[in-house]
Amino acid sequence: MFYADLMKRRSFIGKTALVLVTATGALAAISYLRQFFPRLAGEKQRIALGDPRMFPVDTYTFLEEYNLYIYRDHEGIKAVSAVCTHLGCILEKSIEGFECPCHGSCYNDQGQVLSGPAPRDLTWYRVSRAADGKIVVDPGSSVPATDKFLSS
């Protein structure tokens, strides 16, 4: 009787230990693997363009630091991503639109794919005026190619 009780207790302790060790191990594994994913990655901050009159009229200007093309005409200003939707190379301005040096994807002036392996059209970003009066681009947003921030 006493012996049977002891065995029960022993197996209870054994099973509890197994559960606890498994849970601890799982938690440790999760927190370990979690380390491979940085919390702050690819946060998109708004970009201040400054005075829109800096950009030449009827022209696409390349912003090297942000990989953006800024288009300005007499009515307003628009911003389009200069990153190819295929494999992330930086597009060059061509006569008909944009061209990728890596695998030859071509886009028109509206950022629509004309040829090549690019899976998506280019993203146009929202341009707006911040509270301090500066013109800003929000790379976290997307707007139709026809949208234009009317600056003048």
């Binding site: 491979f36 494999l87 992330g88 061209e99 030859g104 392996p117 899976p119």
Partner: protein, 454 residues
């Protein structure tokens, strides 16, 4: 006299079993395993190249700093300031490229001699993992100099990892389920290649991958002994005792030391006559044009120029599934150790090669001459661009033909021979086109001389 001979042999066996270096081998090696035209010594050459990589790599780590600001300068210092640094870096580079070539030749040798058959299936799988690790080691090492080549090769590579998005975008589920983005974040620690990517690749390149490789190499060599030495034809299978066998020491030892010497001489010679390239410092705003990855990835780059998802992910994954599953689908152990499984197999290999050559060439001519689907039907759905292109058509037709051969010959080994030959030849052709016939904007040029001047 004979007694003396036995005594002498016993003594030698004793020396062998007490000696660590000779312990990697069995004390006796079958005559067939010593035939140079059976193995070409490729596995052992790979081992020696790995040694060269470790020895030169240790020196490079001492002088290299894995930081975006200083990495490029530290590599320049290795080349121009560190005494002998240029030779060490060249050796590291050329030995790594040697590993790529030899690892593929080794794969080809092991496949065509049917050495994955019988109990060797596990060792084949380990070998394929080692092949992948060799490629990953090369790729991770590519980023470290932080030059233009490094930056854009890894930008393209990490976006290939993210190209599962092409599929999830079409299904409209990327916001909830994004395996592509997950993989990219794991690989480069962010959205674009920067310091996190460099740190990660450094850790992968100098610790994780070499250690994994070392452990797997140990298992790989150990399995050869467990499986009864190198594979040999069925007629020798019953040679269990000392007959038809040579003592590993000294015959095998001298052969291997000779190979080691040859490997070092070849790498050293290459390092003396050719410098490892180093372009300008990485510039995230201007890709090289053409932005080409290392030459051994240009076959894949040719495929991704049709579609990132099918060419970079789907077809290579199918290829890996094929490689991993060969020994489990094909159990015709009677073909073990025989080059091309005899005359019938050789004929089949020849025909498969011709078929693959013509098929790939026709598709290349059509694509280069008339453009892709999007040039024929502007505004066509991305589904078609992704699923109907030379990468998927080639892979699909190869699988169909292999299945047809399996039904006709009732032999899985013959089907495996066909599929392996076809895929190998296609890989070679796509790589050749990527290396020599693609210029700015990935357009077709017969030679570099025709490239437009900018």
């Amino acid at each position: 006299m004979e007694n003396q001979d036995i005594q002498d042999k016993k003594q030698r066996v004793g020396i062998i079993t007490r000696n660590f270096f000779l312990h990697i081998h069995a004390s006796r090696v079958h005559v067939h395993s010593m035939k140079p035209t059976y193995t070409f010594g490729l596995g052992i050459i790979l081992g020696f190249l790995f040694l060269v990589m470790v020895f030169t790599g240790v020196i490079l780590i001492i002088y290299y700093t894995p930081s975006v600001e200083t990495a490029y300068q530290s590599v320049k210092d290795i080349v121009n300031v560190v005494p002998g640094g240029r030779i060490i870096r060249n050796m590291h580079r050329w030995a790594s490229q040697g590993m790529i070539i030899v690892v593929f030749l080794h794969l080809v040798r092991v496949f065509y001699t049917g050495s994955y058959l019988g109990s060797r299936s596990l060792n084949w799988v380990i070998g394929v993992v080692l092949l992948i690790i060799t490629l990953l080691s090369n790729f991770s090492g590519y980023l470290l100099p932080w030059d233009q080549l490094a930056y854009w090769a890894v930008t393209i590579g990490s976006n290939i990892a993210a190209s599962a998005r092409e599929l999830t975008d079409l299904l409209g589920i990327t916001n909830w389920f994004d395996p592509g983005g997950f993989l990219k974040k794991l690989l480069i620690g962010g959205e674009v290649v920067g310091q996190p990517a460099l740190s990660r690749f450094f850790a992968l390149h100098v610790i994780f991958l070499p250690l994994t490789m070392l452990v797997l190499m140990g298992i790989h060599f150990w399995r050869i002994r467990k499986d009864g030495g190198l594979s040999r034809p069925v007629k020798y299978a019953s040679d269990k005792g000392p007959e038809n066998k040579w003592l590993a020491w000294p015959v095998l030892m001298w052969t291997e030391l000779g190979l080691l010497l040859m490997v070092v001489v070849v790498v050293l010679f290459a390092a003396l006559v050719a410098d490892a390239p180093l372009l300008e410092q990485a510039n995230p705003a201007f890709p090289e044009n053409p932005a080409k990855s290392p030459w051994y990835f240009l076959g894949i780059q040719e495929l991704v120029s049709y579609s990132a998802f099918s060419g970079g992910l789907l077809v290579p994954l199918l290829y890996l599934v094929f490689l991993f599953s060969i020994p489990y689908r094909d159990r015709e152990d009677r073909f073990v150790g025989e080059w091309f499984s005899g005359k019938k197999g050789l004929r089949l290999v020849g025909r498969s090669a011709l078929f693959a050559f013509v098929l790939v060439l026709i598709q290349l001519i059509v694509t280069i001459r008339f453009g892709g689907l999007r040039n024929w039907f502007p505004g066509i759905s991305q589904w078609f661009v992704m699923l109907i292109n030379p990468a998927t058509i080639t892979a699909g037709l190869f699988m169909l033909v292999a299945e047809w051969i399996r039904r006709r010959t009732r032999s899985t080994r013959m089907a495996a021979l066909v599929l392996f030959t076809c895929t190998l030849l296609a890989l070679v052709i796509f790589t050749v086109v990527g290396i020599w016939f693609r210029g700015p904007n990935w357009e077709f040029y017969w030679s570099v001389n025709q490239w437009p001047l900018f």
